[in-house]
Amino acid sequence: MVFEKDLNLDATELRLGLPGSSEESLRISNKRALPDMNDDSGVAAAKKCDQETAPPTKAQVVGWPPIRSYRKNSLQTKKTEAETSGMYVKVSMDGAPYLRKIDLKVYKGYPELFKALEDMFKFKVGKYSEREGYNGSEFVPTYEDKDGDWMLAGDVPWEMFINACKRLRIVRGSEARGLGCVV
């Protein structure tokens, strides 16, 4: 510290600052940081106290951890994209008067997706087998992929499916025969 404690210069010292804030050192500092950002004496205090007391939360310290902004932004973009941007696709069902839209990101896998479609359109998806497609239902879930081909939903891993799927179509009965549906 700059001032000797035993001469009690603190008492007569000229300081700028609010009355009663005698612990606080005079500092030109930028207060533009987050509202609950610890000031520096807070950090120092945290450093010196026992390990029981929690140290300042990482997110509150400007410029820490020392990762280049480019890299930080890059990872955050991916997270945000993953978390907030929806993957909305149109869903049509043969015979339905209008189409619906659903967000594929919301579902964790095929069972959840099909349950949602079943609820939305009031039908039942049959039982899936790799060899035969969907058995036991008049309706078959299909999707259009990036190449423009119509594919049976359920063959490829879920992650791949949601990346490839441009729109969904629930195909009825006779048209579905070519896709392995056994009615």
Binding site: V2, I28, N30, R32, P55, P65, L75, A164
Partner: protein, 572 residues
């Protein structure tokens, strides 16, 4: 002094290529100074404010290649306000006016404008190589100017720049006559490009050795590009997502088998893990693998991949590889020299992805390790001491514990002993970054043992001025010292003012240095620029010398105060 004619001496100097050596040679005598300066082609300027472009041009009329660095290192972490400085424009303007035949320009942490890039592209007919690292201020329009006007361009390398993307056509600006490209890296650009143009460009570039794509380049384009350029040595993949059963993917697998020159692989900015098996054939020969921008790959994907990379020398990876994965690296990559482990989730303690265990495994398995950047959740003294026993060749050792003041979780002690062991056993250490709970003791060790240390980064460490003094007194080769949030103040700053003339720069922020001390330093040392960065709106500088300064950056210079400082910078 010269027994030989100048031409002979000059010919001898041709064999001296390192900057340090050429600098030394120029100091021997007047005659050597003269011969050296006329024959010098490559110049490195570590701080763009240490000299003016005019003096550079006057001294080295034969200049062909210039490297410039601008903002201080902590600017990478948002500690330096946006328009602080580091503008390349005056350099390019001065060079353009002169008779310098510039061929290569490498910039780091500088502000580059589109106008500068356009001027650059039009002023130097033999311009061959542009490398921009961590720069900002330009858009794809500037890049387009380079593409359009540099007729013999060999290298366009954009690394981690913040570029405003005008979704353009910059790639289509390469004329049909441009066939000289050796290296093209646009991975940091975010926008769409014309894929057909890219294919044609690659097709007419027989010398292309290095190609790094951005995330909008899909897998089927990648396959076509590799067909055209199987001679690539360095590949950065953009998007790597497809259905493994598709025809395109089969074609990719086939063409990858032909690319047996690839030694360096990076990117995977978008990735479907199930497609990674196609890469395995080239893994055998890889010496550099950078997966640090591929968060789509989980720990076991990474582990499976790394198992094929027996010849790896440099690995950059995310911490989701985990300690176990690092164990696999340790048992597979016996040639490993450099390891960088980045945090995949910097603000979430959540899954403690890598700890001291991973580092210990690496140190035990990779005897050639000399460069480390390691972000982890915790570290122990015991682990560091073990690492120090196993590895004595470190040149760079940067450890970042995500909680900045975390003690050894086993003993609750500071990490002084651990870092002490590192510096004691690694006598060639040039660069060191510390973190965790640290007292003055660690600086005592550094001052005692780190005799070759050139760059030191300190945060939230130390107890008193003694810490900083140990370093300033002991580290004779110190060139760059950057300190934040440490209790170092005036006494340490002013003890040996001449020391700063032997260094490139000193950064101190959120320490205990007063305005008065900075004024004393600036007054005494005319060869230093002492900058105070003050961003708060209400204070004026005429106030109390006892004010603690928030950010101070000082650097040696031959040309006094810079003329381009923003309002919030006070030059003392």
């Amino acid at each position: 002094m010269n027994y030989f004619p100048d031409e002979v001496v000059e010919h001898v100097f041709d064999f001296i290529t390192s900057h340090k050596d050429r600098n030394s040679v120029s100091l021997v005598c007047k005659s050597w100074y003269k011969i050296e300066r006329y024959s010098r082609q490559r110049v490195f300027i570590g701080n763009c404010y240490s000299i003016t472009p005019q003096r550079l041009i006057a001294r080295f009329p034969g200049l062909k290649s210039l490297t410039l660095k601008g903002k201080p290192h902590f600017a990478d972490f948002n500690l330096v306000p946006h328009d602080w400085g580091g503008f390349v424009d005056p350099w390019i303007k001065a060079l353009a006016k002169s008779r310098i035949g510039l061929e290569e320009l490498r910039l780091k942490r500088m502000v580059v404008s589109d106008d500068s890039l356009e001027l650059l592209s039009k002023s130097f007919p033999n311009f061959k190589s542009l490398v921009l690292v961590s720069c900002d201020g330009f858009t794809t329009d500037g890049v387009a100017a380079i593409a359009a006007n540099c007729r013999f361009l060999r290298e366009l390398d954009l690394q981690e720049n913040e570029v405003e993307d005008h979704r353009g056509h910059w790639l289509s600006c390469f004329p049909e006559s441009c066939t000289s490209l050796v290296s093209l890296n646009f991975a940091c650009l975010k926008g769409e490009i014309n894929l057909a143009s890219l294919e044609r460009l690659v097709a007419r570039s027989p010398n292309l050795k290095s190609l790094r794509l951005n995330r909008v380049v899909p897998l089927d384009t990648l396959q076509k590009l590799l067909m055209r350029a199987p001679q690539l040595v360095d590949l950065g993949i953009g998007s790597y997502v497809d259905d493994p059963s598709s025809e395109v993917f089969s074609k990719l697998k086939a063409v990858i088998q032909l690319c047996n020159s690839i030694r360096s692989l990076s990117g995977f900015l978008e990735v479907a893990p199930c497609c990674m098996s196609a890469i395995y054939p080239i893994c055998e020969n890889l010496t550099f693998l950078n997966l640090s921008y591929a968060p789509g790959l989980q720990g076991n994907d990474l582990t499976k991949l790394v198992q094929h990379c027996r010849k790896l020398q440099r690995l950059w990876i995310l911490d989701c590889i985990g300690d176990k994965g690092l164990g696999v690296v340790a048992s597979t990559c016996k040639e490993l020299q450099e390891l960088r482990v980045f945090p995949s989730d910097p603000f979430d303690a959540g899954n403690a992805a890598v700890t001291e265990e991973g580092l210990v495994l690496i140190s035990a398995g990779c005897p050639k390790l000399n460069s480390l950047l390691y972000f982890c959740h915790q570290m122990t003294n015991a682990a560091l001491i073990t690492v120090a026993k196993n590895c004595t060749n470190f040149i760079r050792f940067r450890l970042c514990i995500l909680d900045p003041v975390k003690a050894d979780p086993v003993t609750n002690q500071p990490l002084d002993e651990g870092f002490g062991a590192i510096v004691r056993s690694n006598k060639s250490l040039k660069r060191l970054s510390l973190s965790g709970l640290l007292t003055d003791q660690v600086f005592l060790y550094i001052g005692m043992y780190a005799k070759k240390l050139e760059m030191l980064s300190i945060a939230f460490a130390g107890d008193s001025n003694k810490g900083m003094l140990y370093v300033l007194n002991g580290c004779k080769k110190l060139r760059k010292l950057e300190i934040r949030d440490c209790p170092f103040g005036d006494v340490a700053l002013l003890e040996d003012m001449g020391k700063y003339e032997t260094m490139r720069s000193l950064w101190m922020s959120s320490c205990e240095v007063t305005l008065g001390a900075c004024k004393i330093l600036a007054k005494k040392m005319s060869s230093l620029n002492v900058e105070i960065i003050n961003e708060s709106e209400q204070l004026e500088f005429s106030l109390d010398d006892r004010l603690l300064v928030d950010k101070m950056y000082l650097y040696r210079t031959l040309v006094g105060h810079r003329k381009d400082k923003p309002e919030y910078v006070l030059l003392l």
